[in-house]
């Protein structure tokens, strides 16, 4: 097996496996921590429906940022919606409901919004003071992934990205004919998936704990 074949046909499975294993491990680690001091922050939404409503609103609108930090909200909202949109439209594309261009639009939006946030962290005095190498690295990593994805999503004569992903999903990987830019995108996306659970971007699960186990703790 050549290096290219490994990246195209094996590495994505390893990355997805490590992503779920890492996320699961961190979830279980946090869940297993001993009972902590009660640190409820009121008001607590009453009942599961209210709590889900609050979370959904926050996840899909970033209302808290919208109210207090509009400049950052523009970038953050676009970045997260672009990520969500890219995944959603990719799925729709794979099942044949949409063309590939909505995914490309989302990747464009992702790249631009990440660069905007990066710029904002550099020019806003307070954000600059607060930002460490890690914040910039995460944004740069995401920008590179989005850009690579954009490049790879351009129709290729030799191989279709859609066919390649379908092959992966049906456990019949056929990435031997991938172009270099497609290979690079696969490599970077896989790396990002491996990195994600160990970075502070783990907030896709940490929010469950900070809200449900701490802020909204009743007893």
């Amino acid at each position: 097996m050549t290096g290219s074949e490994f990246i195209a046909n094996v590495f994505p499975y390893i990355a997805v496996g490590l992503f779920f294993a890492g996320t699961g491990w961190r979830f279980v680690q946090w869940l297993a921590l001993p009972a902590h001091v009660k640190w409820t922050l009121h008001p607590v939404p009453e009942g599961l429906a209210s709590q889900l409503k609050y979370m959904a609103k926050e996840i899909f609108t970033f209302e808290t940022l919208y109210r207090f930090n509009r400049r950052l909200w523009v970038g953050t909202f676009c970045m997260h919606m672009a990520m969500l949109g890219a995944v959603l439209f990719l799925v729709l594309n794979l099942i044949g409901w949409t063309q590939g261009f909505p995914v490309r639009y989302c990747l464009w939006l992702l790249a631009v919004s990440v660069i905007y946030i990066f710029w904002l962290r550099l020019v806003d005095g307070n954000l600059r003071v607060l930002s460490s190498f890690e914040e910039y690295f995460n944004l740069a990593f995401l920008a590179v992934v989005a850009t690579a994805g954009l490049r790879a999503s351009v129709p290729h004569a030799s191989s279709s990205s859609r066919s390649y992903i379908l092959g992966l999903l049906t456990f019949q990987p056929g990435g031997t004919s991938l172009a270099w830019d497609q290979l690079l995108a696969v490599f970077l996306v896989s790396l990002f998936l491996i990195y994600l659970p160990w970075s502070k971007m783990i907030h896709y699960i940490s929010k469950y704990f900070t809200y449900h186990h701490i802020n909204w703790q009743k007893e």
């Binding site: 001091v37 009660k38 008001p43 950052l72 607060l130 940490s206 701490i214």
Partner: protein, 459 residues
């Protein structure tokens, strides 16, 4: 700076408040890390600490909600920056990524200068938790401030006023004002006489009654300065026909441990719970005091002795509100003319969820009520929260960066009276009224209930 703000000789003049005995500089780093290790070993903060220190996105949303930063514009008052002081150290010594990658992941070895920054920063936060309400990731910087202060306490950095009061409370008298038992009993007798003079009815303040349903504990300062609040509470219990008692020992609900020490918090809390358990009372009712309520509500189940964990805890507002709902209180709002507004004490609002009950009580006892803006979970702190109200050295800070937002907020209501059911808030607000010539009067909620309550001779 006035004379009272001059540091004493045994104080390091670099710091803004007086501490009694601090460790020599060269010993501080080692002790700090030892204490942090002990805190993590105690395992009661691990989840919030790990999440708060590990996942903050540094979006700075907290600063937009912090009244201190909004006033001072000082970098030291950025909540995320302050928390970062501890975050860097935690990462460096207690996380794998920090040990491996150091500054690349925001970790940094602790220095004596970092500790200087912490001494300054952690006592410029009122721990009001307003910044946590709209944090997208639900990070609460107030807890990090609290842990920071616990760490600093191990180096000797605690405002002297807090340690002196706590020493008295844990000593022979059992209260922060060091009032001897006979003097306290005289005070109770005096309050009973006042009740008789005012109402013509014998309204007892029961003492050490075994089996009483409600065990009432107020901050001791109420017995010295807030007689009207206590008279109102006694009338409320009496009107409701409740079985209640106070203790003549360990009756002081104040718990400054909440602001700087788990060891102190635990000792004080258990001293308060001991007579409740001994007298077989069902419910401990905390008076008009925010931090005392919160220290009980949040820490009873984890720092209270196992035999004390079954005791119910209530704030007096909850009890009075229940009496109101049950129709046990007959109230005449005409007895409280004028325009009233309500200050949400941070520890009763964000800390205990008491937003609507005090408003329902207030609307039942006054004719004209106006809201402050903002209010409830977004209300501004009085500016003396986190125990800073007792730190005389920080008086000028409390009147400016700490409290100016509150002063402006009060002025805009046009109210004549500000109702604040918290002893610390009352003290700070009265100082603000004086410093900013607000021309309003600060009163307790039960002061007004006491005036409005209609008592029957045979109640």
């Amino acid at each position: 700076m006035t004379e009272r703000h001059q540091p004493s000789q045994d104080t390091d003049p670099k710091y803004s408040y007086r501490s009694e005995k601090t460790l020599p500089r060269e010993e501080r780093v080692v002790r700090f890390l030892e204490t942090l290790r002990e805190i993590l070993g105690a395992k009661i903060y691990n989840l919030p600490l790990e999440l708060y220190l590990g996942t903050c996105a540094k979006c700075n949303n907290c600063a937009e909600q912090c009244q201190v930063y909004q006033t001072s514009g000082d970098q030291r008052d950025l909540p995320a920056w302050r928390s970062d002081l501890l975050r860097k150290v935690y990462k460096k010594y207690f996380t794998r990524s920090g040990k491996l990658f150091g500054r690349l992941v925001g970790a940094k070895a602790l220095t004596e200068e970092d500790i200087d920054d912490m001494v300054d920063a952690f006592y410029r936060c009122t721990m009001c938790r307003r910044c946590g309400v709209n944090c997208p990731l639900a990070v609460d910087n107030a807890l990090i401030t609290r842990i920071g202060r616990v760490l600093l306490e191990s180096l000797g950095f605690v405002p002297t006023n807090m340690t002196v009061s706590t020493r008295a409370q844990l000593g022979e008298t059992g209260n922060t004002s060091a009032i001897p038992k006979p003097a306290f009993i005289d005070t109770l007798d005096f309050l009973e006489e006042e009740l008789k003079d005012e109402t013509g009815i014998d309204i007892p303040i029961p003492r050490d009654v075994e089996g009483a349903e409600y065990f009432f504990a107020a901050p001791v300062s109420d017995f010295i300065m807030e007689a009207d609040t206590l008279l109102g509470i006694a009338k409320t219990f009496h009107a409701a026909g409740a079985s209640w008692t106070v203790s003549t020992e360990n009756y002081d609900a104040i718990n400054y441990g909440l602001f700087y020490s788990d060891v102190v918090l635990e000792k004080v809390l258990n001293r308060l719970l001991e007579p409740v358990h001994r007298l077989k009372c069902k419910t401990l009712v905390i008076g008009e005091c925010g931090h005392a309520t919160k220290s009980g509500f949040l820490f009873q189940k984890i720092l209270g002795r196992p035999e004390y964990r079954g005791i119910q805890l209530k704030n007096i507002i909850e009890v009075s509100h229940r009496f109101l709902r049950e129709g046990k209180l007959k109230l005449d709002p005409a007895k409280n003319p004028g325009v009233y507004t309500y200050h949400d004490p941070c520890n009763l609002g964000r800390g205990a969820g008491l937003y609507e009950q005090p408003r329902e009580l207030l609307k039942a006892v006054v004719q004209n009520f106006v809201e402050m803006t903002p209010n409830r979970q977004m209300n501004y702190c009085c500016g003396g929260g986190g125990g800073l109200v007792v730190v005389e050295d920080l008086h000028d800070w409390r009147m400016s960066a700490g409290g100016i937002k509150k002063a402006d907020q009060i002025r805009l209501t046009g109210a004549k009276y500000v109702v604040a059911p918290c002893a610390n808030c009352k003290k700070q607000l009265r100082e603000l009224v004086q410093a900013h010539r607000l021309g309003v009067e600060i009163v307790g909620l039960h002061d007004l209930i006491g005036k409005a309550i209609v008592l029957q001779k045979d109640a």
